[in-house]
């Protein structure tokens, strides 16, 4: 790729970027949120058109205007926001990409077989007839990878594939990546997890503000150098942010749930949240973390258990009531549950707070602007102004808007479901710092995360879920990486 340029209204997303990929290498593409990584791969794979520049494949300049054409030429992609049609079954989704069948006729038997084979390569054994939307984000991610791979793939682009995978799944994915690499496929790998970069990649390229900072072999660069390449300044505190912090005594109890559960969704479990305390929520994918946060928030109706907020019985609740009593949720899936893509950043940020105030008492426009500007500054959201549509933001920045909105409603309790999914190192550290700050200000926080490091870094107390029921709780000194993993694994480890 040579001299690629792309601008959107108000932003130059890519400015003269060159990128070379060699067969059989894993090329990591790094940069802060909004640096232009996703845009670059979208250009590379025909999802959007470029303003200028050439794409040269095997020595020949190539042109394509759709992802299908790109895939035929050998460039396959898994995009950042999981891109599957959630109402359709797995088989049907996988059949979208494949070109089998004569006269456009599909044999579902064959399609199912193909699908099963494709998924087998990723060690995925799921019901092919279920709509994709019923699976967790992680499974969907794997399905998307399966669908992107085809026989003549020369370049595979993975845009933050590991953002919602746990360690085990990531390892499985890396095995696949290594296998592809050995077949001579060039893999472009975008992630914000630096360990993974060092683990798998051969070379790295760093983007900053739409410009290429540099391309280097992985062996020539240290972690520190890499981070400073990305954010353009030294950052010791990035590292220190992840170190465990000793908690102080938690304050008064705000939320107390007893036997909260719902049939087929979550076994009844107890949980309590205190002022000035961060509770981590750990578990494997599908263990029910999302469900627990939603049950507390009232987004899913419970069929058992009771809950008290500030000592008052509060059941059955709805999201609106929860927000009114000072509970805020940052949902996991920002695209479908988090943001209103059509609306601007300002409007999204104001929404919750306004809902709390009611429709009659409108927050004056000036105040909205002020609030949005503050939030953009505080969260370091990369945008020219607050009037940009949220759907035009990069993934990480969207996540920040979700957080900003929850904060704007001035909650006492924040439920964060995967708050750092898809967020760059710098911002990751900032969010962890933010969580701690909020905690010090007396908020009660519940943080569900797949990243055990993160939980260890922020949590005073950890609740561990397995197979949709609570299996343990660790407090204070006991919160360590190993202890959490052990509890998550439970008897499985003991057996083996």
């Amino acid at each position: 790729m040579k001299g690629i340029c792309k601008s959107f209204p108000g932003v130059v997303a890519l400015d003269n970027v060159d990128l070379t990929l060699r067969p059989g290498e894993v090329h990591a593409l790094l940069g802060e949120n909004g640096a232009g990584k996703s845009t670059l791969v979208k250009v590379l794979t025909g999802a959007i058109s470029r303003d200028r520049g050439d794409i040269i494949l095997d020595g020949n300049p190539v042109e394509f205007s759709t992802t299908a054409e790109a895939a035929n030429l050998g460039i396959s992609t898994v995009f950042q926001e999981v891109n599957l049609v959630s109402a359709m079954s797995v088989t049907k989704n996988l059949a979208l990409a494949s070109q089998t069948g004569r006269f456009g006729v599909i044999s579902w038997k064959k399609a199912r077989q193909d699908a099963r084979e494709k998924l087998k390569r990723l060690d995925l054994d799921i019901d092919l007839e279920q709509p994709v939307g019923t699976f967790s984000v992680a499974i969907q991610q794997l399905i998307a990878i399966a669908s992107a791979l085809n026989d003549n793939t020369k370049v595979l682009v993975l845009d933050e594939p590991t953002a919602s995978l746990d360690a085990q799944e990531t390892r499985a994915l890396f095995d696949i990546v290594r296998e592809l690499k050995s077949r001579g496929i060039a893999v472009v790998f975008i992630t914000h997890f630096l360990e993974q970069v060092f683990e798998i990649s051969d070379r790295i390229s760093v983007l900053r503000n739409g410009q290429l900072v540099g391309t280097k072999p992985i062996d020539d660069i240290s972690r520190g150098e890499l981070i400073s390449m990305m954010i353009g300044k030294e950052l010791g505190e990035v590292e220190s942010a992840f170190s465990r912090r000793e908690g102080k005594e938690p304050g008064a109890e705000i939320v107390r749930a007893e036997g909260l559960g719902r049939r087929r969704t979550l076994q009844p479990c107890d949980i309590s949240l205190h002022k000035g305390e961060v509770v981590g929520l750990a578990g494997l994918l599908g263990s029910g973390r999302t469900e627990l946060t939603k049950l507390i928030f009232g987004a899913i109706k419970n069929d058992s258990g009771t809950m008290t907020v500030n000592g008052k019985q509060q059941l059955p609740n709805t999201p609106r009531k929860s927000i009114n009593t000072g509970i805020a949720l940052c949902p996991e899936d920002r695209k479908t549950e988090g943001l209103v893509g059509e609306l601007t950043i300002r409007e999204n940020i104001v929404l919750s707070m306004q809902a709390k105030k009611g429709w009659l008492r409108k927050v004056p426009f000036k105040e909205q602007q002020k609030l949005a500007a503050e939030m953009i500054k505080a969260m370091d959201i990369a945008t020219p102004d607050a009037e940009k549509q949220v759907r035009q933001l990069s993934g990480g920045n969207q996540q920040k808007v979700v957080l900003a909105r929850a904060l704007a409603s001035k909650p006492d309790v924040m439920l964060l479901d995967e708050p750092t999914r898809g967020i760059d190192v710098g911002a990751h550290a900032e969010i962890i710092v933010l969580i701690r700050k909020l905690c010090e200000e007396g908020l009660a926080l519940l943080v569900a995360s797949s990243e055990i490091n993160e939980i260890v870094a922020v949590a005073d107390r950890v609740v561990i879920l397995r197979d949709r029921s609570k299996v343990g709780e660790l407090v204070g000194q006991d919160v360590t990486r190993d202890a959490i993993i052990e509890t998550i694994a439970g008897e499985d480890v003991a057996d083996s």
Binding site: T67, F79, N83, V85, S86, M88, A97, G101, E129
Partner: protein, 324 residues
């Protein structure tokens, strides 16, 4: 329960249809008969054919309002060309091509200019209806003997009922529609587009060709509906089929297809259309209502059906496990 959830709306539609049919039978003499069933199939055949095309459009998240005008336009062309000595079959084929071309043009405008389908096809509705008036203002009979031959094709049903040729054409069209929707790559693309157009695009569905194909297919089915209507009434009438687009859309939606796209089945459309026919027939059998009450009962029965449908789907859903 092993029943796939996606069949629920369809099953509910069928259940409600049968229930209404039986209730009608208990109220009116001669209602529960193959004759009435045959009538419903024939009298709604063109609505259902047009609705099959509309099903694809709606599945893809779009809408097609040009259906009714297309029926009128095809009719007047058939009639006028008949008076100029064309064989009805030749005109029919010609009009089917026209339908495909017109639909494709609509699809192209929708995708290329990024104009909303509702509006493009609304312009199509105005345009085709206007063209009808250009062709003729009178109603014109089709006198070719082929028409007699066509209407003489019948399959007897047990009892006094018959399956008329229109119903037969409709059943063939239905089979074709089901095949295209569920057994071709195109059909899969339609569902994908309706489910999530952006994802479908990123997964390699060519949105432009698919859109053009969808509206071309809808154009084909509405032109076919026009042909059936013209042969069925053996005439062309410039006002024929007005507001039929809404009836077709209602048939699709009553058949369990979501207007937001991505969810639904072609087979449901058959029953959706038949339910509309059943409602009208019930009111005619009653016969004691004045115009005011006829309109009100039409709405009330529609409401009743929708509520029954929702209750059925809802109660199944609870047994079926977690709700979305």
């Amino acid at each position: 329960m092993t029943l796939n959830k996606k069949y629920l709306p369809l099953i509910a539609t069928i259940v409600v249809f049968v229930a209404l049919f039986v209730i009608g039978g208990s109220m009116y003499r001669n209602f529960l008969s193959t004759m009435v069933l045959g009538n419903i199939l024939a009298d709604n055949s063109f609505i259902i054919i047009a609705a099959i095309g509309a099903t694809f459009v709606i599945l893809s998240g779009g809408i097609d309002l040009s259906v009714g005008s297309m029926i009128g336009f095809v009719g007047v062309c058939m009639a006028v060309l008949d008076s100029m000595g064309w064989h009805p079959l030749a005109t029919a084929i010609f009009m089917l091509f026209f339908g495909v071309a017109f639909g494709a043009a609509q699809g192209f405008i929708i995708d290329f200019c990024k104009i909303q389908p509702f509006i493009v096809t609304l312009a199509g509705l105005f345009l085709l209806r206007g063209l009808c008036f250009m062709v003729t203002l009178d109603s014109v009979p089709i006198q070719h003997e082929f028409v007699q031959f066509y209407s003489s094709i019948k399959v007897d049903l047990p009892g006094r009922g018959v399956l008329r040729s229109s119903a037969l054409v409709m059943l063939v069209a239905l089979a074709l529609g089901i095949f295209i929707a569920h057994f071709t790559r195109f059909g899969n693309h339609v569902y994908a587009m309706g489910g999530d157009a952006e994802s479908a695009r990123l997964m390699g569905v060519n949105i432009r060709t698919t859109t053009v194909k969808i509206y071309a297919l809808a154009g084909f089915f509405s032109a076919l509906a026009g042909v059936v209507y013209a042969l069925y009434t053996s005439s062309g009438y410039p006002l024929a089929g007005s507001t039929l687009e809404l009836t077709a859309i209602a048939a699709v939606v009553l058949g369990g297809t979501l207007l937001s796209g991505g969810v639904g089945m072609v087979a449901g459309t058959l029953f959706g259309g038949m339910i509309l026919g059943l409602i009208s027939t019930l009111i005619i059998f009653n016969g004691s209502l004045n115009s005011a009450w006829i309109m009100i009962s039409n709405g009330a029965l529609l409401f009743l059906f929708i509520v029954m449908h929702r209750v059925l789907v809802g109660s199944f859903d609870l047994k079926g496990g977690t709700k979305e």
